[in-house]
């Protein structure tokens, strides 16, 4: 009874409206992005609606159960995530030089997407049960570091640099919450700063270095990637203040944008709706992330706070890296724009994350 009352009275409307707005705009944009594409792609905006619906259902289920249950089963979830990642190597076929998807019937599951949430929950459980009043030292980072490393190594082996980076960024963001002693922090930064180039020069053999460089910039090998990034800039820049209008973006309609439905949906939007539309969309993402931080700050316990912050970090880093990449501020790595890019695993993960946020938000007055 108490649960139901909480759901009704404490429902986080701003969060819901923001997410709904991004999702609706995303579907509309997807329609435009694929309107001139090959027939196979033209209907994916409908599939995106299905995924969003499925995701919304998942979010409701996730939000309905008191998050303290998740704390209890945190390790189990983590174990499932890692098992799936191992399963990838047994089941997945290679696509574009990497193994990322497990085929399930007619669609494919990308376990590395789900792993992001399992990692957040696992780290939250660890920090929840490891409260400190005095500052933390490097020793306190060993367990969280191990929690990160296991899936990280598996994902790097696929290889999927983008997702690996996101995991690291989420980890750093969460650990930033904790109070690490200044001395430990300095030691950590200095050690990493010194050891990285040394390891690069002396530990790695030339062929290994070469692997790492082509690994850091895998798209360098793909013909014309620089050209594609350039065309994305052309699309954004040519949008001007107000844009060229819905379905009127020439860069998109004339097929100058690559992967316009997965990694490059933002240039489509920026070309059609200009600076004004772009700022509005970015504002929605910013509001979403700030709401997430607010929910974390209002959480009544450590687990809720860390989960809310982890999900916020997930959304934030995806958004920033994707936008930075399409604007030419960052190199091209395959990272989706949350709820805007087409993709089942991505949408489900984001919506599940939103469900966790909603869960923490609804229960901020409990206990």
């Amino acid at each position: 009874m108490a649960l139901r009352r909480g759901l009704r009275d404490n429902f986080d409307w701003p969060l819901f409206v923001t997410v709904a707005a991004i999702a609706v705009v995303g579907v509309v944009n997807l329609y435009s992005a694929t309107s001139a594409a090959v027939p196979a792609l033209r209907d994916i905006y409908i599939q995106q609606v299905y995924w969003l619906t499925l995701g919304a259902g998942t979010a409701v289920l996730i939000a309905a159960v008191d998050y303290r249950h998740y704390e209890r089963y945190g390790w189990i979830g983590y174990g499932i995530g890692v098992s799936l990642l191992i399963l990838v190597f047994l089941l997945a076929r290679e696509i574009r030089g990497s193994q990322r998807w497990i085929p399930i019937g007619s669609f494919s599951l990308q376990p590395s997407e789900l792993m992001k949430l399992f990692l957040i929950v696992a780290l939250a459980k660890h920090l929840h049960n490891d409260p400190r009043t005095e500052g933390r030292t490097l020793k306190d980072l060993i367990v969280p570091g191990a929690i990160l490393s296991l899936p990280l190594v598996l994902i790097l082996k696929q290889p999927d640099l983008g997702t690996a980076l996101i995991l690291v960024f989420i980890f750093v963001s969460i650990m930033f919450l904790t109070h690490l002693k200044l001395r430990s922090l300095v030691t950590l930064v200095v050690t990493m700063g010194v050891s990285a180039p040394l390891a690069w020069s002396y530990l790695l053999k030339p062929y290994q270095r070469e692997r790492v460089t082509s690994f850091l910039a895998p798209e360098k090998d793909i013909l014309d990637t620089g050209w594609h990034a350039y065309q994305a800039k052309v699309a954004i820049g040519s949008g001007g203040l107000t844009g060229k209008g819905f379905l009127q973006g020439t860069q998109n309609q004339h097929k100058f944008l690559p992967d316009q439905h997965s990694d490059f949906p933002f240039p489509v939007w920026a070309e059609e709706h200009g600076f004004i539309g772009s700022v509005l969309l970015i504002s929605l993402y910013m509001v979403l992330v700030l709401l997430g931080i607010k929910i974390a700050s209002e959480a009544k316990d450590r687990f809720g706070a860390v989960v809310a912050l982890g999900v916020s970090a997930l959304i934030f880093w995806h958004t920033v890296i994707n936008l930075g990449m399409v604007c030419g501020l960052l190199p091209v790595v395959g990272i989706t724009l949350p709820l805007f890019s087409y993709g089942g695993s991505s949408v489900l993960t984001m919506m599940a994350g939103i469900g966790l946020l909603m869960n923490v938000s609804i229960r901020r007055f409990h206990f």
């Binding site: 008191d66 303290r68 249950h69 704390e71 209890r72 929840h128 049960n129 409260p131 400190r132 009043t133 963001s173 930033f176 919450l177 904790t178 109070h179 050209w227 065309q231 800039k233 052309v234 699309a235 954004i236 820049g237 040519s238 949008g239 001007g240 203040l241 009127q248 020439t250 860069q251 004339h254 097929k255 100058f256 920026a270 200009g274 600076f275 772009s278 700022v279 970015i282 993402y285 910013m286 992330v289 700030l290 931080i293 974390a296 700050s297 009544k300 316990d301 450590r302 687990f303 706070a305 860390v306 912050l309 934030f316 920033v320 936008l323 930075g324 604007c327 030419g328 501020l329 206990f367």
Partner: protein, 626 residues
């Protein structure tokens, strides 16, 4: 009931949230700043780029104006040529192979094609580039048949310049070739693009702006692969700007007369002929031998052919009618005679004795023969040097020079094509300056007979004889009579231009003309041998201009050296004698004696142009080849 974990203190996290919010704000704002940069500050650049991405501009070349001769025959024409355009982005190795197969290219040709494709910059790879020019009929048919299987290949028909008269009048008409990268830089804004042809010499160059016309263009929308969108998907209608054809030139040249000059020149390897209308200064023939085939130059010469032309001892690239200047020899004598008469230094009746030479101090000045007692008339008829030596002694070099300049020597005539030489008329002052401050009377003597340092071009001499013939009017030589549109309507018509009215007494002019008449028609005349019995009456003056007199060095090829040392053979004339219409100048380079080689050519060209075709023709003498 499941045991949920107890509440845990969140105080450790409290202080961190505000830094996170700040970080989020700064990051998001920097992205907005980047968008501000791209979408507002640099918008024009990116919008232009987006526009260029999707517009394909197909040039519609303008038809170059035609060049016609005085009778309306086409001298410079346009014929269709087939060119192959390709879209580099669509050219993979199989496409290259199949195109090479259809055009039957050899390995080297295939490699050139690959290199061409490789040079196209990334942003132009979805645009058409011209890959093959002026392909043969068979190649055209092969490509046309398989065009559907070759996306990204297009055939266009472009006009190519053709010259039906080939080498005849080559120097005057001129040729075209493709603009180079430097030209494009120099002529920025004049609308030339890569692959355009422009006039490089002669009239084609001088009248480029009239002949050229203005290219049109067709703008179509394309997708990323360079394929045209079907019309329903075109956001705008294709924009078509029609080309404006160039204007036609109607020349004063008469190709019949050019042909006649060529025919009568056939025995000699090198020289030139100029014919002008004495009443207008319109040039009827401008012939320089040897020439070159304009079609060959317009379609591009191989390295070997270029070297061959540059090394040819008869210098085919030199326009001998306007660019080269020569000693006038005895064709200059009418000037000396007029200077003496007009300034009342010596009347025509003055007699001098010619023992075959003239002694000035201890120097001996030669004459061609022993002419004995002559007056000025007979001196002109027989081209007696001695008479003119004596005359020069009294007239002086400056008076001769001033009449020479009066008749247009020593300065450019203003014919307006190619590079024109101005020739040279020496004065006393010049000799003083160039000969150790000492003037010698011998300089005057040589000048009076057209040796020494006087240099003239063929066109200058022709204008001078036209002025002698028409009573003293010096015209500017004219090559273009009219500028017309393709439908024949006249845009500009150019009237004859008088340079100056020469101040000479008509009686003296008449006296000199009688001398010139005698040179051809008097039994003792220097050109009597070349006279056509019953043909059009010709008045003229022979000239034998001595050239290189240095000793033959053992290093030289003796036959070449012998040729190079032989005098140039001149004849300058007008006809008909009683009512002059045409003036002619013939120069046979290293031909030898003027009356024997140049005069027959001139007289026969005049006979072809003005005379009764039934009149007897004399055989052409062949100059001794090296």
């Amino acid at each position: 009931m499941i045991m949920l974990s107890p509440r845990r203190e969140v105080g450790e996290f409290r202080k961190r949230y505000k830094w996170m919010v700040l970080f989020v704000l700064v990051t998001m704002l920097s992205i907005v700043g980047r968008l501000f940069m791209l979408q507002l500050v640099q918008h024009d650049r990116w919008a232009g780029e987006a526009d260029r991405n999707i517009t394909k501009v197909v040039r519609l070349p303008a038809t170059r104006g035609l060049i016609r001769d005085y009778r309306g025959r086409v001298i410079a024409d346009n014929r269709p040529s087939y060119n192959v355009l390709v879209t580099p982005r669509l050219m993979g190795e199989p496409q290259i192979e199949s195109i090479a197969g259809l055009l039957s290219l050899d390995e080297a040709g295939k490699q050139r094609f690959r290199n061409l494709l490789g040079r196209v910059p990334e942003r132009r790879r979805s645009h058409f580039v011209q890959a093959f020019n002026d392909i043969s009929r068979d190649q055209y048919a092969a490509i046309e048949t398989h065009r559907r299987e070759l996306p990204g290949v297009n055939l266009i028909v472009a006009p190519l310049r053709s010259y039906p008269f080939k080498q005849l009048g080559a120097h005057t008409i001129g040729f075209l070739n493709q603009v180079s990268a430097e030209d494009l830089k120099d002529m920025n804004g004049l609308g030339y693009g890569p692959g355009d042809a422009m006039g490089r010499s002669g009239l084609e160059r001088a009248w480029e702006s009239y002949l050229r016309g203005r290219d049109g263009e067709l703008r179509v929308m394309v997708d990323v692969r360079g394929r045209e969108l079907d019309s329903s998907a075109q956001p705008e209608k294709p924009v078509r700007k029609e080309p404006v054809p160039g204007l036609d030139l109607r020349l004063t040249l008469d190709m019949d007369m050019m042909r006649s000059a060529e025919r009568h020149f056939r025995g000699h390897p090198s020289g030139g002929v100029v014919v002008v209308d004495v009443h207008t200064g319109r040039v009827r023939a401008l012939y320089s031998k040897p020439g070159y085939d304009l079609n060959e130059l317009t379609s591009g010469l191989s390295q070997e052919r270029v070297r061959e032309m540059l090394e040819n001892p008869f210098r085919p690239l030199i326009d001998k009618t306007t660019y080269e200047s020569y000693f006038p020899g005895s064709t200059f004598k009418p000037i000396s005679a007029l200077a003496a008469l007009q300034d009342n230094i010596i009347p025509g009746s003055t007699h001098y004795d010619c023992p075959g030479y003239y002694m000035l101090g201890r120097r001996r000045f030669r004459c061609s023969h022993v002419h004995n007692d002559t007056d000025m008339h007979m001196a002109l008829v027989q081209s007696c040097n001695t008479y003119f030596y004596r005359l020069a002694e009294q007239v002086g070099i400056d008076r001769i020079a001033s009449y020479a300049r009066e008749f247009g020597l020593g300065e450019k005539t203003g014919i307006g094509i190619n590079t024109e030489a101005s020739g040279f008329v020496p004065t006393r002052e010049w000799y003083v300056k160039n000969h150790n401050d000492k003037f010698q009377v011998g300089f005057s003597l040589n000048t009076a007979i057209g040796q020494g340092d006087t240099r003239v071009t063929l066109i200058q001499l022709a204008m001078m004889y036209a002025a002698l013939a028409n009573g003293g009017t010096l015209y500017v030589p004219q090559l273009v009579e009219k500028v017309e549109q393709a439908d024949g309507s006249v845009v500009h018509e150019f009237p004859p231009r008088i340079r100056r009215q020469i101040n000479v007494d008509p009686a003296y002019l008449e006296y000199v003309k009688e001398g010139l008449y005698g040179a051809v028609n008097n039994r003792k005349g220097t050109a009597f041998e070349a006279r056509i019995e019953g043909g059009v009456p010709v008045s003229g003056k022979t000239g034998t201009a001595e050239v290189n007199k240095s000793k033959i060095s053992p290093k030289e090829d003796p036959r070449r050296a012998w040729y190079d040392r032989r005098s140039h053979s001149w004849f300058a004339a007008f006809a008909p004698s009683d009512n002059p219409q045409l003036a002619i100048v013939v120069l046979v380079e290293h031909g030898g004696y003027g009356g024997k080689y140049a005069a027959p050519i001139a007289i026969q060209v005049l006979q072809d142009a003005l005379g009764d075709p039934s009149a007897t023709k004399k055989p052409v003498l062949v100059s001794k080849k090296p």
